[in-house]
Subunit: 349 residues, 3 copies
């Protein structure tokens, strides 16, 4: 199973890219350096000097250019070398790859595939930390596991009942019931109503209520979810569809999450979470972030242990269950898109 | 060189397996989880869920069953899945391997081969920590080395003269003389009398005496040894055979040791040591354990260094010496048994 | 690209080889132990016992011999086993490789190739710490990088302008100008005058002056350099050749440096530096060592990062620049010598 390259991957939080300071990350095994030039222009270059393969991320920003600090090659934002100390002629092959890069929703998105296909409309509609309609906290975790295992985890919430019984306070409903699943162009939509429950630890209630969760899981690995608790009967009243958020008892929250494959067996996981404005305050956000910190550490323990078992298994085979419908649909979508990418490359060659 | 699988391997001390708490170990590269169910039943299962290969050792005991805490598959002690959350049908292939497991002599023994051949009479007659006839201390060490190298070490006590000159206070006799070696059905017996010596640091004596050591080294890698000091002349009087333990001057001791291959290049070493009751007290046992702690650390330094040299040698070849008779006999026995196992599997297939 | 084996490699500082105490090092992936016997004789043996491959460096010196402390094999300085405990006969194949070894210039040099070709006149003329004409400090660094990358670094000083702008206070001259390069039998000579400059941090001057550097870089990876500052006009006066050192304003210094490949991807870097006597005192030497400590750490950061990028690159290709003339010449020399060695071995076989 491979990954889609013609997609926007989250490389960093906006705040991680300081002015004139190269940042290093590996995405899909490609070393990438990202910097903001003097003009504020955001640049993402292959992090490998053409001369002797030193990382450009150890280099120095000069205007909007980046100088390798080993022997001084100077790079344009588009990747061409424009200066080779001690040499007049600059070979045309003296260039590194320049990646399309966009800053949006407080994230730095890098397009890892064919530059001519980079389409900003494919950036998932995450919510930025500065969005006035939300009060969000955020964090990130590095995994010693392949991204696919984290995607699989996020594509099947039945694990909440077991992995997160204490942190999220999830009851047996997640494992006992199926979410409504709708295929999207570049992902899967999950909708789930849990009726007549007192909610989980993050949204506990003294009276029974209806609890709503809806999320899109989008290529390459981005989860965008709205959740909230509503008066008993809301689920039935809206025919298990989308409720009027204004009718929520409390706690309509939104979370953006992104899984980025670094190398074949390592990944970075970015997340934000918090209430819609009017549905909670900073204290509520902080409580949610405390729960998230505990819960995401639980996932990490399980998934990294799973990776170790997989790695020591000769021919690892999974046995899908009824809850894996979404996992299977999403992975088929990834395979279809990855295959089409390969086909396009074959035809072009 | 391979290992015998149709054998009982020490997986843990009895005390390591707490009630209702899965324990994880890898034996011969197989991930295994061991637990005591509510009824007290001891269970050893393949530590790999059929669903997505998460380790069952992160699971939860429910009665005598074990639930995977990733997505909730519930396993019987025999390995079958009996519950898949959100799904009625349970495929017959939804089962993991269940290993024969026995608690005896304070050790948990797991049979790593064909279950139908598991024969409790093959469990080596170690001495448990609770045996009223002995006063035993115990410990364990993990090695970054293959089990075979530790076995080889224990099969040739000529190393005592060099590796343990200070800790055991072993003199030149171990390297200068040969033990009497007797092949057993599933191992080798070593007998050695050292005459007219003042003994080693663990059994020092003001007057010359005869020192006796006899041990069996048994498949898969278990050492069971009696040692003691006797009046000068005892060796000759018993024709270098088995002495009357009642005639010992002091310090008739017993040690049980077990070497368990975890992975191809890692091992766990379990040991107990102490006097027979009437031949020493708790203080004597503690003195022995202090010596053992020092000596076994000396072995670990040498064997892990040996492993590093072997690993960086293109075609590692050993050059056996006269002292290697027991090593050679035991390794031939292992190869013979391993080959027979392979043959049996071929015929069955 | 391979390394030359018929060459003297620096294995250690003289002071590292204490009397009767085996020292362990790996050179070109060969495990080697070095010791001084009772007579003071220096011995270098393959660090791998013929018996069970334990490292002899864990052994004990007995006279000028070395005893393996696993099972007691005793080795002559020439590598033959002369004692096998418990055994009369000693097979003729019971021998390890003995390496030609010489102590000179405060370094222990080991010849890694065919012993019959070992020629002490090929030892590079480094300056020892005890040379009365110099006041030298010294140090060493281990690299997680292949030796070739460190050699390449030392063969192109244009990196001083970028990597060491602060530590050495190197200006743009190193990248802007070419050194004069002269091929030697077993290396390359670099000469460089920087005219009308106030010098670098290690040789700052209130008035403009001419700065001189000349170094030989010799097989297998030894740098020997003289540097100093001279009155303005000296460069022109001596036609950019060798100045009269007596005319130096201050600070004529000498540095010996050696790069030793340990394994395929690790290396050890030895260095000394200081003024000629009469050109500076202990305080000047200590100032130089402080600068060197900072500068060599800068190299290490860059080169180890370069190694990581190379390792994750499928088919790593460099793109040489005008400054790489010396790098190219030296690496061609290495390839030529390595090829001749291989040819000699083929013919002999």
């Amino acid at each position: 199973m491979s990954y889609v390259r013609n997609a926007w991957y989250v490389a960093a939080w906006s705040e991680e890219i300081a002015p004139m300071t190269p940042f290093a990350i590996t995405i899909l095994d490609d070393p990438v350096t990202i910097y903001r030039g003097e003009s504020g222009r955001l640049v993402a270059l292959e992090d490998r000097c053409v001369h002797r393969l030193a990382p450009l991320s150890l280099g120095r920003c000069e205007g909007d250019r980046l100088r390798c600090m080993y022997h001084g090659m100077l790079y344009e934002p588009e990747g061409q070398v424009v200066e080779i100390p001690g040499q007049e002629q600059i070979p045309s092959r003296a260039r590194v790859r320049s990646y399309p890069v966009v800053e949006r929703h407080s994230w730095i998105w890098v397009w890892m595939g064919a530059a001519d296909l980079a389409d900003e409309s494919l950036i998932p509609p995450a919510v930025g930390l500065d969005d006035p309609d939300f009060i969000l906290g955020h964090g990130q975790l590095d995994y010693a596991a392949e991204a696919r295992l984290i995607n699989d985890n996020l594509l099947d919430f039945s694990h909440l009942t077991y992995v997160h019984a204490e942190s999220f306070g999830a009851g047996p409903e997640f494992a006992a019931t199926q979410a409504k699943i709708t295929p999207l162009d570049r992902g899967i939509r999950y909708q789930r109503w849990i009726e007549n429950s007192r909610g989980s630890s993050s949204r506990a209630s003294p009276v029974p209520m209806d609890s709503y969760m809806c999320y899109d899981f989008l290529i390459p690995g981005v989860l965008l979810m709205t959740g909230g608790v509503f008066p008993l009967g809301t689920a039935k009243a809206c025919d298990y569809g989308v409720p009027d958020l204004a009718e929520a008892i409390s706690g309509v929250t939104f979370t953006s999450q992104a899984v980025t494959p670094l190398t074949e067996k390592t990944s970075r996981y970015f997340f934000s979470w918090g209430p819609r404005r009017g549905h909670g305050d900073e204290a509520f956000r902080d409580m949610l972030m405390g729960i998230a910190g505990k819960a995401f550490a639980e996932d990490k323990v399980m998934i990294e242990a799973q990776q170790i078992v997989i790695d020591r298994t000769l021919d690892p085979q999974i046995m899908p269950t009824a809850h894996d419908k979404g996992v299977t649909l999403f992975n088929r979508l990834v395979e279809k898109l990855a295959k089409a990418e390969q086909e396009r490359i074959r035809v072009a060659a």
